[in-house]
């Protein structure tokens, strides 16, 4: 018997299941997965965009709001200038292909390396409940862009803000069917309190997360 068989046999004997797969048990498993019921949650009666912005700030992100995607490059330039950051970034292709002329920001369409300072990404969805951006890995959406640079700028179209994680799963099933290699929920900058319980921002990931909400 393999380790696998031994472990499963111990579990079955503990629950008194003679057969490996009683039909009723398998039906219960399939039922739970197919229905994937939403469990008990707190009441969520809020306007999604203001709630999202407020919760981003609570998680130590900074937030800006622009009218449309066309205004994103100017908002990025403004943020980098205000923060005294280099006017150079790596970005996901969809963001890199916006019109950056005249903003003074050099944007490269490539995955981030260890020494890049600013990374700009879009989002798959965003969660109003917790001020969280949801990123999916993929050919045009490398995970490293939101992880390695010291500053992560996330562009969030307002229409992609959903109530909470459960709504995000429902939308993802509907739109994609399958999960990508990595789903990353990011809520504010990297942090640690491992020395004397004192909160420090920027443990391993970005020091800054700046969220730009594009209303249309």
């Amino acid at each position: 018997m393999s380790a696998r068989d031994n472990i499963l046999a111990r579990i079955r004997s503990a629950r008194g299941a003679a057969a490996a797969s009683a039909q009723s048990d398998l039906a219960a498993i399939d039922g739970r997965i197919n229905q994937h019921p939403v469990g008990t949650r707190p009441a969520m009666h809020w306007d999604q965009v203001p709630r999202f912005r407020e919760q981003c700030v609570r998680m130590s992100s900074t937030v800006d709001e622009v009218a449309s995607m066309r205004d994103v490059p100017a908002a990025v330039a403004r943020f980098l200038t205000e923060q005294g950051l280099p006017m150079r970034a790596v970005a996901w292709p969809k963001i890199a292909h916006l019109d950056w002329t005249g903003t003074g920001v050099t944007v490269e369409d490539r995955p981030a390396r260890g020494d890049d300072l600013v990374g700009i990404t879009g989002v798959h969805l965003a969660l109003a409940e917790t001020g969280t951006v949801m990123l999916l890995s993929g050919v045009d959406t490398p995970a490293a862009t939101s992880l390695l640079p010291e500053t992560h700028i996330a562009v969030v179209p307002a229409g992609r803000i959903v109530l909470a994680m459960e709504e995000a799963w429902a939308r993802t099933r509907e739109e994609l069917g399958e999960l990508p290699r990595a789903v990353n929920f990011v809520s504010g900058p990297s942090r640690t309190a491992d020395i004397e319980g004192q909160l420090q921002i920027g443990a391993h990931g970005p020091f800054r997360v700046h969220v730009i909400v594009a209303l249309s």
């Binding site: 503990a14 498993i29 050919v139 999960l179 789903v183």
Partner: protein
């Protein structure tokens, strides 16, 4: 290899008298953070009930959920391994590391790997292992073990860290916590970029999608599962959760219970290795599903302990843990959950003091996000010690004598009468007993002396007209 260090009482005594530990423990106030964190959940109790029921649902058909996880994970290219023992874990990891010819291994937090002493096993085979959670890194440099499941270096202060960094980094001494954190970031960034294998724990396994669910605040979990070419996750059999919705419900409580955050900074689901065209992600993803004593709890009166989601709230609220710290417990999991898991995983006879290292005040039971009745489980473990004759002979003899007397009311009344009067006599004018013979009870406190008469005497007197 995996037995606990004996001598709980001596260690607890040392820690209580160690001024540095006492100060260090007070730096963290995770209990207050939790209180603030749960304040915005007006239906907290209902959510706790829901989370407990999700965990129970998984445990009730654990074999089928594990098989479903395996099936879904395999379908997406993850290689699933099963470890019956701690030695199996180490053997499987070493085999993967050898086959893929890695040299440097970076680790994000894995308590299961602490159970199996994986780092030592890998180092003995010539692999370089670097812990990347800041607390774990500090503990690794010090050659120690974590003393808290989510704040591993809770027992260290900034001076300790400064000394370790001077010694191991060869850099000028820094004492500012921000500067120390930045120094660790710089050194660990190099390791992240050059690590060939990443080893992580797994907060949950999601059966629906075959995904590994990983939570960190520092981002080291993301680094470990994104950059190296091999990713190995190690987690217990009990960590499987049916659906994405189920894990969302539990997540609402996990971060709040641990640090008071509404969500951890990074919540990551890894579903298989790198896909065609991906520029990052590992070429191989492995999940090791570990038993190592866990299945023994299934179907017993200890099963509820397997609901645990490793938030640390029980130890953050435990008056015993808060005074002695995690190392006194002698094995991987400290605090109330440790006092339940350790005897169950490695044998009741190997952890006699732990179920007794509690006042049964039920602070832990009240805050546990998945409603594990921790005091009740500790009480049952105490009963089992008595049933199996594992208590010291003095205690067994004492209880036998007491039981004999208690069944004979006249003798019992006579004995208690003598004791009450003797107690009053030894209490003296201020009615305080400062020293009891053969017993450490009065070492740290005095005992109020009895009034001189037994309850039965007083009751009989009052009944008289």
């Amino acid at each position: 290899m995996n037995a606990p260090v004996p001598g709980f009482k001596a260690r607890a005594h040392d820690k209580l008298n160690d001024a540095k530990i006492q100060r260090a423990m007070k730096n963290f106030n995770l209990a207050a953070a939790r209180t603030r964190g749960v304040a915005d959940l007006e239906n907290l109790e209902d959510i706790r009930t829901a989370a407990a029921s999700i965990r129970d649902h998984s445990l009730a058909r654990l074999d089928l959920w594990l098989e479903r996880f395996e099936q879904e994970a395999t379908r997406r290219g993850t290689q699933v391994h099963w470890a019956e023992t701690h030695d199996d874990i180490n053997r499987i990891v070493i085999e993967i590391a050898r086959r893929t010819a890695v040299k440097k291994i970076i680790k994000s937090k894995s308590m299961v790997s602490e159970e199996s002493h994986l780092n030592a096993a890998l180092e003995a085979e010539g692999f370089q292992v670097v812990e990347t959670d800041l607390g774990e890194y500090i503990v690794q440099l010090a050659g120690e073990t974590p003393s808290h499941i989510i704040a591993p270096a809770i027992h260290k202060n900034r001076d300790d860290v400064a000394d370790l960094f001077v010694k191991h980094h060869g850099t000028p001494r820094k004492t500012d916590i921000g500067e120390l954190t930045m120094e660790a970031r710089k050194f660990l960034r190099e390791h992240f970029l050059s690590g060939e294998m990443g080893i992580s724990g797994g907060n949950f396994l999601i059966a629906e999608t075959g995904s590994l669910f990983l939570v960190t605040n520092e981002g080291n979990g993301r680094m470990t599962t994104t950059l190296p070419r091999i990713h190995v996750a190690i987690t217990g059999v009990e960590k499987v959760v049916p659906t994405l919705e189920d894990v969302s419900c539990i997540m609402r409580l996990l971060a709040r219970s641990a640090t008071g955050q509404s969500i951890s900074n990074y919540v990551t689901l890894n579903t298989g290795p790198k896909r065609p065209g991906d520029t990052d992600g590992p070429e191989e993803m492995h999940v090791i599903i570990v038993d190592a004593g866990r299945t023994k709890l299934l179907g017993t009166d200890m099963q509820e302990a397997l609901r645990c989601i490793r938030c640390g709230a029980c130890m953050n609220h435990c008056p015993v843990y808060q005074n002695i710290g995690g190392h006194a417990y002698g094995w991987v999991y400290p605090g109330p959950i440790g006092s339940v898991l350790t005897p169950n995983y490695i044998g009741l006879e190997n952890a006699l003091d732990l179920p007794n290292a509690a006042t049964l005040c039920n602070q832990c039971g009240v805050v546990c996000p998945v409603k594990i009745p921790l005091p009740e489980l500790m009480r049952k473990l105490r009963e089992k010690q008595v049933d199996r004759g594992l208590r010291p002979w003095q205690e067994r003899l004492g209880l036998t004598l007491w039981a004999w007397a208690a069944q004979r009311p006249v003798i019992y009344g006579w004995l208690t009468g003598i004791t009450a009067r003797a107690g009053r006599f030894f209490g003296g004018a201020d009615r305080t007993i400062r020293r009891l013979p053969g017993n450490g009870w009065t070492e740290g406190r005095d005992m109020p002396a009895p009034a001189g008469k037994t309850f039965r005497e007083l009751y009989a007197k009052r009944k008289q007209p």
